[in-house]
Amino acid sequence: MQRRIRRRYAAERRFRVLGAGAVILSAAFLGFLLFTMVAQGWRGFTTTELALPIDLHAAGFHVERARLNTPAADLALASAGLEDAVENAATSAFGPDGATLIAPSAWTVLRAAVKRDPAILERRTVVRVPASTAFDRALAGEGTPAMKATVARLQRAGMVVRGFNWTFLSESDSTDPVAVGIWGALKGSLLTMAITFLIAFPVGVLSAIYLEEYAPKNRWTDLIEVSINNLAAVPSIIFGLLGLAVFLGTWEIGGRVFGPMLPRSAPLVGGVTLALMIMPVIVIASRNAIKGVPPSIRDAALGIGASPIQVVFHHVLPLAMPGILTGTIIGMARALGETAPLLLIGMRAFIVTPPDGVTDPATVLPVQIFLWSDEVSRGFVEKTSAAILVLLAVLLAMNGLAIYLRNKFETRW
């Protein structure tokens, strides 16, 4: 008997350890994923720059001072051969392969410097220009031995400067990994989310009010409820197919005839598609929030002569709002991280200029991540991971806000 009890206790302990193990392993996976992203992504937020000594006057570079204050300044500097001057300076400063060490966009940095301070046209100066992708990769430990040696030599000479990569936050897509940024995608996401919110929130809340407060019990109402519950479980890619078939099918035919041609990657199209996708989430959350408002409040308002509409809009809705907002934020977070439907409707364009409106071609952050993950160049790995970190940070902030709202306004009746 004693032995049997000991055996049973051993089994009990094993079971417990198994359970704890499942929890710990699941959490460990999350930790591992985050760790991988940070380990690969932190470098994406940094830049490698080279301190380039340059004497434009000695190099025989001339441009009329008067033209520097006109809109044609860019043209004047380019046609005067600024790009060549920079490359020559790099060769003389860094060695014969100097021109390959600086990014192709390096001369634009100098152009901005000249426009800011024309005096540097006359004297020797040192400008920090972005290093090329090959140089940057070699610095990260991936590159040819020759390039690594060059990196070591310049590092000893104190010509390599590391800094925070503001470009990554302010620029858009590019073919060169050192020049890419997420601002364009972020702005696209913002515009898309604005459309999604403007459609899904009112439609979702209004249908929830109708279903919870006014809908008569009949077949129509049942049909609406079944539709909403099923839509909540439909895979997101199906919404992409719907978007593709409906929006683009009809709009392109219309557009071909006369209407304005809407680009397939417009935030308007993506936003509407995502709105249909998260609307059921908002409806279900809103219904639960409305259900949570005690009936005695409705009685109280009805009892002094409030109309059913006034009861809902003056009393029930304000009281249900925290719950509704929590559900909406969670739904919006889902839309923000969604990729598949947007890929299908064609929101996968190469976007160099950030969109200015909801009808401009745009991309969104998750799609940008997907596109970068497909790039062959190794330099994109750290940019992809860095973009993922930004996306995760935004999502974490949104979910944190939802939890805060829930805790702050949670009322027990």
Partner: protein
Amino acid sequence: MNGFALCFVILGLGLIGWLTARARALRFDRGGRKRLHSLPAQHGWYAAAWTVLPPLLFLAVWSAISPGMVRQTILRNPAAAQLSDFAFERDSVLAQARAVAENPYAGDVDPLARRLAPLVGATRSRYAWIGTLVAALLAFAAGAYAITRIRPDFRARSQVERTLMMTLLVASLIAILTTLGIFVSLFWESLRFFGHVPITDFLFGTHWSPQVIDAKDPGASLGAVPLFWGTFFIGAVIAMLVAIPFGLMSAVYLTQYASPTTRRWMKPTLEMLAGVPTVVYGYFAALTVAPAMRQFAVLLGDPYASSESALAAGLVMGVMIIPFVSSMADDSLAAVPTAMRDGSLAMGATTSETISKVLVPAALPGVVAGVLLAVSRAIGETMIVVMAASGAATITLNPLESATTVTKQIVDLLTGEAEFDSPKTLAAFALGLTLFVITLLLNIVALRVVKKYREAYE
């Protein structure tokens, strides 16, 4: 005048209507009665609704039909006689003419389009003016009608509330329209697909290679069985082998063993797994897990192992599903009456014996329903398989070999540059329809099981 400005003007007229009606209502003689049916502001809303809604409705209809009318008018004009009879060519010239009308400096334009530009521009602006004028007239007429109806005994509140109620009803109908839209668009495109490819070839064919389609017998290379198998293998087998034990054990541990503090911290942590965007999982699977799996396969003695194995995608997908299974199991365990648990413990059973012999069997229907929902989510998951699974359709039982899924193929088929109604792109819709129907069935069955189960314990 562009649409935005016009809407703005109409809203401005609405505001004027609101103010006028309210002012009128404020001057009412109360006629000895204590209270009026409607407040002045409600009369205001009544007038504003009348002023704004009819012109906006008209504009919506007008913007849908006026392009066609513009086109008809242009085509009737003798100057348009030279236009090609081919619809596509004709439309292209007209579109160019429109571009020239808007921007005379547009380059690279058909000479005919340049000649037609003034006509197109004039016709378009004529119809735009007609629309604006009618909208404005409607706003004035309807607003004036509303204001004349305002009397002390007029029930403006009821009217306004009826309008609001209609808005609520319309909003809730959008859900039905969406469902209908999904079904009709999938069904319609699938029907066109089955016009090219016999449905039996698609459903029972075992060869899938959409890159090389024989124009005479497209069905021969569009057999979807390998996709169905791959979807099932990755989503319902490998992913579930991860998600079910981990999800279930996590739920058991967190509900039965863990201290409240542990529970408070670990539950949201696990839920974060569900909040990570799928594109992140996909990237992680492709970049970290898949190479590791390949290494593993090489270690097992397969030097040509695929780096796009079913195992990598399935494993990561399983992790993503863990919180889903865990929270469903949590709910079902919580629904088991405490009396059952107490009864078992009181007999001297250990906690683990109680859980495995009493709680889990009692909660089984709920758990099974949760697993069904999890499967439906897994097979509909797209980004992980798009990024980590292979495009090669094989039927295999070896998790280290490559397999492809329905969702991956939908994305691959539709992101090419193929034209819209080739059998290749239409196949994506047939796959979508299959996916839609299967997930729908899984959900209906699961919800029914959950409902039965809940009723059993109430």
